[in-house]
């Protein structure tokens, strides 16, 4: 069997087990009060973890790149009480513009010339 199909089969089983665990364990009985409070309180932490890894993680490293500017623009839009679609467009648009600017600087050798100036 090829690597691809072995990988797909193994991950299908592992993933099924992981996703099934919560509903099977806690679906039909009440969890202890302490566990229930922990799980309920964990949502903002989980969301924050997803935001931070999605914005600053790249190949196991902490990086500051165009994504951070995009999320900064989204935060600004949120402070100004913009609707969701505006928040998303601000994030993607800012990231895209900065990436285009960097690509064009690289293409014209600007970054090398700027670096020579500093």
């Amino acid at each position: 069997m090829s690597t691809a199909w072995t990988l797909i089969g193994a991950l299908a089983v592992i993933n099924f087990t992981i996703k099934a665990a919560g509903p099977v364990i806690a679906g039909r009985r009440e969890l202890p009060d302490l566990a229930q409070r922990f799980i309920t309180a964990s949502v903002p932490a989980l969301v924050a973890g997803l935001i931070v890894t999605g914005t600053f993680a790249s190949d196991g490293k902490l990086v500051l790149d165009e994504r951070a500017a995009g999320i900064g623009a989204a935060a600004l839009a949120l402070v100004l009480r913009a609707p969701l679609l505006v928040v998303l467009v601000a994030a993607a648009g800012t990231t895209a513009l900065l990436r285009a600017a960097r690509a064009s600087c690289t293409a014209h050798g600007l970054s090398e010339r700027l670096r020579a100036l500093v």
Binding site: L7, I14, T40, V43
Partner: protein, 218 residues
Amino acid sequence: MDATLRDGMRAALPLLLPTLLIGVSFGVAARSLGWGVAEPIVMSIVVFSGSAQFASTGVLAAGGGLGAAIGAATLANLRFLPLGLLTAPATRGNAVQRAFEGQLTVDASVILATDEHGNVSRGLFIGATIAQAACWIGGTALGAAVDLGSDGSEIGIDVIFPAFFLYLLFAEAHGGAHPYRVAAGGALIAFVLIPLTPAGIPVVAATLAAVLGMGRRR
């Protein structure tokens, strides 16, 4: 159709184009490993987790072996243990049916469907997942069958999900007492662990910040 199921699909609407495009980029990434058209499509159906799928193909693309690819994908998906406990009350039936309904667990669906008391709306949860699944699998098929020559990074697709989660965090501060204190704690844990641990661990460890918000909301 159940109204709340439709509400779930509507709530997921801003995510559908990004999900489709990320699906396309997964199809392209898998084909670049020398896979056929069927493999990425089947994977998006039976594994059905973008982070796990990208984690495993990323390892293979970097020259890693099968074991490392399986390990990376498993770590990436460990967060579905706490997410699954959260969605458990929204599932129905006996253990087997609940196990299958648990497969519908997707980050954005769970977060969208959870109110500030930690209650999960079944209709919102399932509706949001159905809409995203169609786009994820359809996008994968498109990317695998037709090489579009782009992963969407030129138009900033990769920040849509973090921006959406930021919106949810601000618009509906979820869960327990002191949601912002808990969020800050989770963010700090993730920051510290990103360079120290394999991908997937920072998000799971971030949930430990829940201890900051376990007091009763007054």
